[in-house]
């Protein structure tokens, strides 16, 4: 395939060290090279036709410009052979591009047997990554060179998980599970974005992706479990506050800009008016209720937008959160 070898040599030409190329961030997964080379093949084909069209256009403008002594020369107003040629050749190239895109897409869609599974929850405006042993993080930690499958769901609106370095993207649609898989090739840190517009803080729904060196992922995961088990409740609560996405909407100081929920600072034990006109005392029961069934008792002045954490937090974790909020004073 002369076309694909042209694409590959272009890849080399544009490669700019570790940081990827002019066109791409560095390649972090096994499908990335295939995606990139298709990209460069299309670029080569497009550049060829584009330069041809513009060159011919400029040449005609110069050569046949209207000037004294030059007049229109007769030429046929159609030419079947020419027209067939310039339909069929681009047509064949299009078939080639389609086929390449299709084949790589099949690889992206078909995870190998026995992939390591991580649960992903997307919500306005944070990510939660849950590992098989129950550890929850809002960074995505990954083992090196092992197929990983993300099983994803959304709690509110459509989000989309996008890791540019891996060249993967998949929407998270509320009410169903979606899946994406990849196999990392290089340790390091990458970026993960939400690519489907999801409201106010869409552009900060970003997370880090950490691909561990060979053999370092399992120890890291174990250490996380131990740490969670050993923490005193209020500290575990603070960790969960960070990791479960509470931080996106609730402040723990007086600076509430950009937060859609009330601050936790100094609320414990206070009386608060509710949207339905009643009042409530912020005690253990109210906090627990707010975590499990957030829309049942919405505070006055706030929208019922908080997702439920029913089934996602264990009792010990809810207690830890209560302790944490308590520790923020009255």
């Amino acid at each position: 395939m002369s076309v694909s070898s042209l694409g590959i040599s272009l890849t080399g030409l544009l490669a700019a060290g570790n940081d990827g190329t002019i066109a791409f961030p560095s390649q972090g997964s096994t499908v990335a090279p295939a995606v990139d080379s298709l990209f460069y093949i299309i670029t080569a084909i497009s550049a060829f036709f584009f330069v041809l069209i513009v060159a011919v256009m400029i040449y005609f403008v110069v050569r046949y410009r209207r000037r004294p002594g030059h007049d229109v020369e007769k030429s046929p107003s159609h030419n079947t052979a020419l027209e067939i040629t310039w339909s069929v050749i681009p047509g064949l190239l299009l078939v080639y591009i389609f086929a390449q895109g299709f084949l790589t897409f099949l690889d992206m869609r078909k995870p190998p047997e026995g992939a390591y599974e991580i649960q992903v929850v997307g919500r306005k405006w944070s990510w939660a990554f849950q590992y098989p042993n129950g550890v929850v993080q809002n960074e995505l930690h990954l083992p090196l060179d092992r197929p990983v499958r993300l099983v994803m769901s959304s709690e509110d609106v459509i989000h989309s998980l996008f890791i540019p370095a891996f060249r993967v993207k998949q929407d998270l649609v509320p009410g169903r599970y979606s899946k994406v898989w990849f196999r990392t090739t290089k340790p390091g840190e990458y970026r993960l974005y939400c690519a489907e517009y999801c409201g106010q803080q869409h552009s900060t729904m970003v997370a880090d992706v950490i691909v561990h060196e060979a053999g370092e992922f399992e120890p890291w995961l174990q250490a996380e479990v131990d740490r969670m088990n050993d923490l005193p409740p209020a500290e575990l609560g603070e960790l969960l506050y960070q990791r479960q996405g509470c931080v996106q909407c609730h402040a723990i100081d007086n600076n509430t800009t950009g937060k859609v929920g009330p601050s936790f600072l100094g609320t414990f034990g206070t009386e608060q008016p509710l949207a339905d006109g009643q009042t409530v005392t912020v005690d253990e029961n109210y906090i627990r209720q707010s975590i499990l069934d957030p829309v049942s008792q919405v505070r006055a002045g706030y929208q019922p937008v908080m997702p439920t954490y029913q089934g996602r937090l264990k009792d010990r974790e809810i207690n830890a959160l209560v302790e944490f909020i308590k520790s923020l004073g009255q």
């Binding site: 066109a23 499908v31 513009v54 005609f60 107003s77 389609f98 299709f102 996008f162 489907e196 517009y197």
Partner: protein, 571 residues
């Protein structure tokens, strides 16, 4: 028509027996209640230009905010509302009506050689529906803004507390405006062509309007109904799209793109029609492959209905569906590509002059080339997964819709300006404006391809610092583009006040609209025009006395044959 009698009374007098359409009657009522397609076209023109200004200012505000990665002066809420309204205003209020409703309304009957469209009252109604729809958009701004993106994806749009209902009502009403215009054009072209105006003697601009009208009539109702369903879901709480109520959020995307993909052809087909007119006129050559261009407009219109799923490759649709949509997507690109080759072949051995409209036509070929070719990356499944919902897509559709539709609209506006208003503009300054627009446009949008493939998602108010360089480049380009457009507006306004009087045929064009005086008389033609094949330039020569082109009568027999234009009638 009731005024038929009065028309025949004056029509037989050779010469300017009627005042032109701008001066034949006076007072605001003579405009507000006019049934003259030309006046309606002018009112549309003013209305869409105001929308364009509004959308353009919002675009510059957005670009200015993106000059820095963190907050410069817009809160996230304001940013989100700004890009939503920019997109919605530009698409629904400017791009969709720009060429068909403004230029098309004015030119279609004149180019056809008839005195008005089939249903003049419906034509006026379509304009007022547009105004009414636009008012709903303004209301949406006042009633707490709109922050859903112009795509209104559910369930975000059913849960946000911004003015989704007012905006969808606006879209619904604008849809009717679009359907009315489409129906009117279809009936006019089908039933009113005068003797001699066979299908294959129709200028290509009319073919493109015909194809566009088919889409408007068939696709727009889907959008209207989708808007109503969205309103029903918000107000009555029935579960159509909301998964919490048993609905399907992806269903909305199918409905939406079933209209909105064809809608992009509502924007681009008329643009291609304009460019066909320009390339032929300014090369003084019959258009190469006339029939192909005519048929391919229809083919694009019909194939355009089959590819909506390519906006949803990562939405969770099945791999099979994605594959079928990808394959179909590529089929649409062939007729578009061939049109470009046809324009080039038309220039071959021509006598090309670079008047402003031709400069826009060349800019169109350049920019549309980039827009179309970058569609290949998005049509191919593997590359789309990476590029979907990034700035690459933003750059792609701006190249096609701004580089394509807007540039062709400006080309057409400069081309028909002398006809519409009877004044010439300053050629040199108009060309300079065109050049600035061209450079500014590329500086704005080309860097966005790089941003996108490097992973910058679209619709982000804040971004990672690694992208700052390309964003600043793009913002600078946008400011230049803004200056170019302002200059362009200045040149045209100046011509209204100071311009030299336009001759009937300033460019040496061969289609019928150039046979009546500039501006046209109230009934378009003082006498019934003689229809012959379009794009015959042998008998049109420059007359220094008129500072314009006139027809000479004696055409040598054999030369007529040599030009070999599509004159056979098959209607």
């Amino acid at each position: 028509m009731s005024d038929n009698a009065s028309r025949t009374a004056t029509a037989h007098v050779h010469g300017h027996s009627e005042e032109d359409y701008l001066r034949c009657s006076h007072g605001w009522k003579s405009w507000a209640f006019t049934l003259d397609h030309k006046r309606i076209g002018v009112m549309y023109l003013i209305a869409i230009l105001i929308s364009f200004l509004l959308g353009g200012v919002m675009a510059l505000v957005l670009r200015a905010e993106l000059f820095t990665p963190d907050k410069l002066f817009l809160s996230e809420d304001m940013y989100n509302q700004m890009f939503t309204l920019h997109g919605a205003v530009m698409t629904f209020l400017f791009l969709i009506p720009s060429i068909p409703a403004a230029l098309g309304n004015f030119m279609l009957p004149v180019m056809l050689g008839v005195k008005d469209v089939a249903f003049p009252r419906m034509n006026l109604a379509s304009f007022y529906l547009w105004v009414f729809g636009a008012i709903f958009f303004l209301m949406a701004i006042l009633l707490g803004g709109l922050d859903t993106g112009w795509t209104f994806y559910t369930p975000y749009s059913t849960t946000t507390n911004t003015a989704v209902i007012a905006a969808s009502m606006g879209v619904f009403i604008l849809g009717f405006s679009s359907i009315f215009t489409g129906l009117n054009f279809l009936v006019t072209i089908n039933t009113m062509r005068p003797a001699g105006m066979t299908w294959f003697r129709m200028p290509l601009f009319l073919w493109s309007l015909y194809a566009t009208s088919i889409i408007q009539v068939l696709a727009t109702p889907v959008l209207g109904i989708t808007g109503l369903l969205l309103i029903a879901e918000r107000t009555l709480g029935i579960g159509i799209f909301d998964p919490a109520r048993g609905g399907d959020p992806v269903l909305f995307q199918h409905f939406f793109w079933f209209y909105s993909h064809p809608a992009v052809y509502i924007m681009i087909l008329p643009a291609m029609g304009v460019v066909s007119e320009l390339v032929s006129t300014f090369s003084r050559k019959p258009i190469f492959g006339y029939r192909f261009i005519a048929y391919s407009s229809i083919a694009i219109a019909l194939l355009g209905f089959l590819v909506w799923g390519h906006h949803m490759f990562v939405s969770g649709q099945s791999a099979l569906a994605a594959t079928v949509f990808s394959a179909l997507t590529f089929t649409v690109s062939i007729p578009s590509a061939i049109k470009v080759f046809n324009w080039l072949a038309t220039m071959y051995k021509g006598a090309i002059s670079l008047e402003t409209p031709m400069c826009y036509a060349l800019a169109f070929i350049f920019l549309f080339g980039i827009g179309g070719l970058t569609g290949l990356y998005l049509g191919a499944l593997a590359t789309d997964v990476h590029l979907h919902d990034t700035y690459f897509v933003v750059a792609h559709f701006h190249y096609v819709m701004v580089g394509g539709t807007l540039i062709a609209f400006l080309g057409g506006l400069h081309y028909w300006w002398p006809k519409m208003f009877g004044r010439m503009y300053n050629e040199m300054w108009a060309r300079i404006a065109c050049l600035i627009v061209f450079v500014g446009f590329n500086a704005t949008f080309f860097p966005q391809f790089v941003l996108g493939s490097r992973g910058m998602p679209r619709r982000y108010a804040r971004y990672d610092t690694e992208f700052v360089y390309f964003h600043q480049f793009s913002t600078s380009g946008a400011m230049l583009l803004g200056c170019g457009l302002m200059l362009c507006a200045g040149v045209l306004i100046h011509s209204l006040l100071r311009g030299r009087k336009a001759p009937a045929n300033p460019w040496g064009s061969s289609t019928l609209e150039w046979k009546c005086s500039s501006p046209p008389p109230h009934h378009n033609f003082d006498w019934p025009p003689v229809v012959s094949a379009p794009y015959q330039y042998d008998h049109i020569v420059y007359d220094p006395n008129h500072q314009g082109y006139v027809e000479v009568e004696d055409i040598p027999e054999e030369e007529d044959e040599l030009t070999n234009a599509p004159v056979e009638s098959h209607s």
